[in-house]
């Protein structure tokens, strides 16, 4: 039966190439836009090195402190993590690191800007960076405040013209660092591990950060198992209720351990920063509504073209009806036809999105991004194409099945 539908579909599509072209253009363009957005979101949020154990990770990326008439939104401070996030149950490793800071290195007449991230030694055990040269700095390097650094291969390119960098020194923000390791690049849309240069937290110009509960720092835990994640979240939230807040202006503090996506949702206009519960669902709801609004126009367009195509084939339908074909099989035939068409459009869209993603990588819109149509994104694409096909095929199919056989035989409905 399906092969029969397939043959029919090809015959029909070949008969009116203009309509086929319009449909394919609309479908492939719509899916292209959705796929590119999906691929970017996937690149930002799905597990990949150096966050391949993301399913066991939670982080604190935003903190809110408030009292009557006052609200302070930022990231949390070192003291908060140092005092309250250590020895949480179910945690394999905890890392505390600073938000990156843009620093400048002058090489003769050239200025090189780098994102400098100061971290503890546990950072290298939580994130699985691939070392191209050397290795991470150690606990001793951090406690002794040694001026050592791990740089990415892009930094090696910029600072040392791509030559082996191990043991060489460079200056950044008035401090001189010795390279102990070189790692693979991190795309800047991977907000949590992103950096060009990594150095011990203790090399900061002052140790004022050690006394602050708000500002400048992030913490990420690697849990023993995924089952430990809710326990970690709850325990830390419970501990935060006991934090002594500075001054009289602030009475409450919220800084939950959560996934990068939940954190994004928390900081979006749809999230509630004062609510320690997960915020992801609100952002998801918005994104689904936005996607539905975006596909409205392409869907209506495709429905219109489809109806025209059906009316074109009114006599064929009339013949089938006159010979007793049930409504169901007519609907099935048309929906299958439409899904095949959208899958074909999806295939074109997939090729186009690979090209567009390549162009985005080269444009430097996202630093060090390696956007690509990976198997997961391909899977999303197929699902999107089928959903779009069903979405735009059902109403025209219903119209087609309702055609009166006599009218249909005469070449279409009077109205």
């Amino acid at each position: 039966m399906l092969s029969h539908y397939l043959t029919m579909t090809l015959a029909v599509l070949k008969r009116r190439p203009f309509y086929t072209a319009i449909s394919l253009f609309g479908i492939s363009f719509t899916l292209l836009v959705l796929m590119v957005i999906t691929a970017i979101a996937d690149h930002a949020l799905a597990p990949m090195a150096p966050e391949s154990r993301q399913d066991r990770m939670l982080g604190v990326h935003s903190a809110t402190m408030w009292g009557e008439g006052n609200q302070w939104n930022s990231d949390a401070g070192y003291l908060l993590f140092d005092r309250y996030a250590r020895q949480l149950p179910g945690v394999e490793t905890l890392t505390i690191f600073a938000s990156y800071q843009t620093v400048t290195t002058y090489l003769g007449d050239q200025r090189v800007s780098s994102a400098l991230k100061r971290t503890d030694a546990a950072f290298w055990r939580v994130f699985d960076f691939t070392f191209l040269e050397g290795g991470p700095y150690t606990e001793a390097d951090v406690t002794e405040a040694r001026f050592v650094a791990v740089i990415t291969s892009a930094s090696r390119e910029r600072l040392f013209a791509g030559q082996p960098a191990l043991g060489k020194t460079f200056e950044a923000d008035g401090q001189s660092f010795r390279v102990v390791g070189v790692v693979d690049n991190v795309p800047d849309i991977r907000m949590t591990p992103f950096g060009d240069v990594f150095a011990p937290i203790t090399t900061a110009k002052t140790d004022a950060y050690k006394r602050e509960i708000m500002g400048g720092f992030h913490a990420v835990v690697l849990a023993r198992t995924t089952d430990d994640l809710p326990i970690i979240r709850e325990e830390f939230n419970a501990r935060l209720t006991k934090v002594e807040l500075p001054g009289k202006d602030f009475t409450s503090l919220v800084a939950p351990f959560e996934t990068a996506y939940d954190s994004l949702a928390r900081e979006s206009p749809f999230g509630d920063r004062k609510d320690p519960a997960r915020q992801g669902a609100k952002l998801t709801l918005f994104l689904v509504i936005a996607a539905l609004l975006f596909v409205t126009l392409p869907t209506v367009n495709l429905v219109n073209v489809n109806i025209s195509r059906i009316l074109e084939r009114a006599s064929e339908i009339g013949v089938r009806k006159a010979f007793g074909a049930p409504t169901r099989s007519l609907i099935a035939q048309f929906v299958v036809e439409n899904v095949i068409l959208t899958l074909a459009g999806g295939a074109i869209g997939l090729v186009l999105s690979a090209l567009v993603l390549q162009a985005i990588n080269q444009s430097g819109m996202f630093a060090h991004s390696t956007l690509a149509v990976n198997p997961r994104v391909f899977g999303y694409g197929v699902v999107l194409a089928i959903a779009f096909g069903l979405f735009s095929g059902v109403y025209p199919a219903w119209r087609m099945a309702r055609l009166h056989p006599v009218e249909a035989l005469k070449g279409g409905p009077a109205r």
Partner: protein, 420 residues
């Protein structure tokens, strides 16, 4: 004639309803792009109020004050830091390549903004962009003053706080009256908890009116601005976050490390990050133009899709109705008149879609969610965007009818009547 057309459309209502919805969606898409584009274009025509040629911004990172420390300790710390800052300015001015150096909290094209507001004695509340600057910022950024003068040494020890305001704030405060020398009629906020050790805030006296200061660049929405004088050698006023310098023509990047090292010598535990204004401006303009470009490209392809789709649908419906057109031709109607009928039907349908679209976009400014938007988009631009998008949609649908209507008009009546 119109009634007849409406009846013809009503007879094919189901198909035409879908077409109308498609045109309506297309209108909404065009409207969003046109609204953004028109707003940006209008904003870009207003003066910026500053020039950034040869200006560098140096972000000054200081160790943050300890939270919870008492006010006296904080103020002592700030006084020490203001002293350091004064030395930084002097050090920068000593370099022969540097024309001017000044301290400021926010600067053109940087992301940080400082908003403030006052409650006036007549009960009105005004919100504006706020900044504290040293005396050299106005000449350094070549900011034109339309009235009055810049701050200067003559303001030292004045009983009132000298401020510069922009024209928008001047007219909001004083209408057509002369703002120079006026004190801003501020109502003290009874709820504000103030540390007793701090002196009562000084009244603000307008010494000059600047043309404008549109920090976020040419596409940003013009608003109200107030600059307060920052006197580094007086108590209170905080420590500026940025150091601006204007370099002499022909100065290259080679000066940057020299300047940073020189500044670092004055304050070893501070950080200095230099960016040229050209770089910051480019990044800021990109922030505005990139979303619009992406939106416009997507909208362009959507419209192309709609154009092709509508052409296909009209073509098909013309083919189906060839007998009807043949009958009209046989009854003596000219080809041109048949063609006009196709166009007129399209126009009536577009009108319906646009009425619905107008109704929808007409509601938007009154939604509670849109309060913010109303302050960003002027009503005139909103109406203009509706008109412009409506015109664009008429052109688009008529273009879609062009080829099919030609087909309808050119077919000989005898063929049309026989057509199956």
């Amino acid at each position: 004639m119109t009634r007849h057309l409406v009846r013809l459309i009503w007879n094919r209502k189901r198909q035409n309803l879908l077409l109308t919805i498609e045109i309506l969606c297309a209108f909404l898409v065009v409207f969003v792009v046109v609204l953004f584009g028109l707003t940006f274009a209008t904003n870009a025509r207003a003066p910026l109020g500053f020039e950034t040629e040869r200006v560098w911004t140096i972000d000054v990172g200081r160790p943050r004050a300890l939270p919870g420390a008492d006010a006296a300790a904080n103020e002592a710390n700030a006084a020490r830091e203001r002293e350091i800052f004064t030395r930084l300015l002097a050090a920068a001015r000593e370099l022969p390549q540097i024309e001017l150096a000044a301290g400021t909290f926010t600067a053109p094209y940087v992301n940080a903004t400082w908003g403030s507001g006052v409650t006036l004695t007549d009960g009105r509340k005004l919100d504006f962009l706020y900044n504290r600057v040293t005396d050299d910022v106005v000449p350094l950024l070549s900011m034109p003053l339309v009235a009055g003068r810049n701050f200067g040494r003559q303001d030292d020890g004045a009983g009132t706080m000298p401020v510069l305001i922009n024209r928008a704030l001047a007219s909001a405060l004083f209408g057509d009256g002369n703002p120079i020398g006026q004190v801003i009629p501020e109502k003290p906020d009874p709820k504000e908890r103030r540390d007793p050790s701090e002196p009562a805030p000084r009244q603000k006296r307008v010494v000059g009116v600047m043309q404008d200061f549109r920090q976020h660049g040419p596409y940003s929405v013009p608003g109200m601005v107030m600059f307060e004088r920052l006197q580094l050698d007086a108590a209170h006023g905080g420590v500026p976050d940025r150091l601006l310098v204007r370099v002499r023509p022909g100065t290259t990047v080679a000066l940057e490390p020299i300047l940073v090292r020189r500044l670092q010598r004055e304050a070893a535990d501070w950080s200095f990050g230099i960016s040229t204004m050209d770089h910051l401006r480019e990044r800021k303009e990109n922030d505005y133009l990139m979303p619009l470009t992406v939106l416009a490209v997507i909208a362009g392809f959507l419209l192309l899709m709609v154009t092709l789709g509508l052409t296909g649908v009209v073509w098909q419906s013309v083919t189906v109705r060839l007998r009807e057109f043949g009958l009209r031709r046989a009854a003596g109607a000219s080809g041109a008149s048949v063609r006009r009928q196709v166009f007129a039907e399209m126009a009536v349908m577009t009108t319906f879609a646009l009425l619905a679209g107008g109704l929808i976009v007409g509601q938007v400014p009154f939604l509670p969610l849109s309060r913010e938007m109303v302050s960003v988009v002027a009503p005139g631009i909103y109406v203009g965007a509706v008109a412009l998008s409506a015109a664009a949609i008429y052109c688009l649908t008529l273009a879609c009818g062009w080829y099919p209507s030609r087909l309808a008009a050119r077919i000989p009546p005898a063929d049309a009547l026989r057509y199956e």
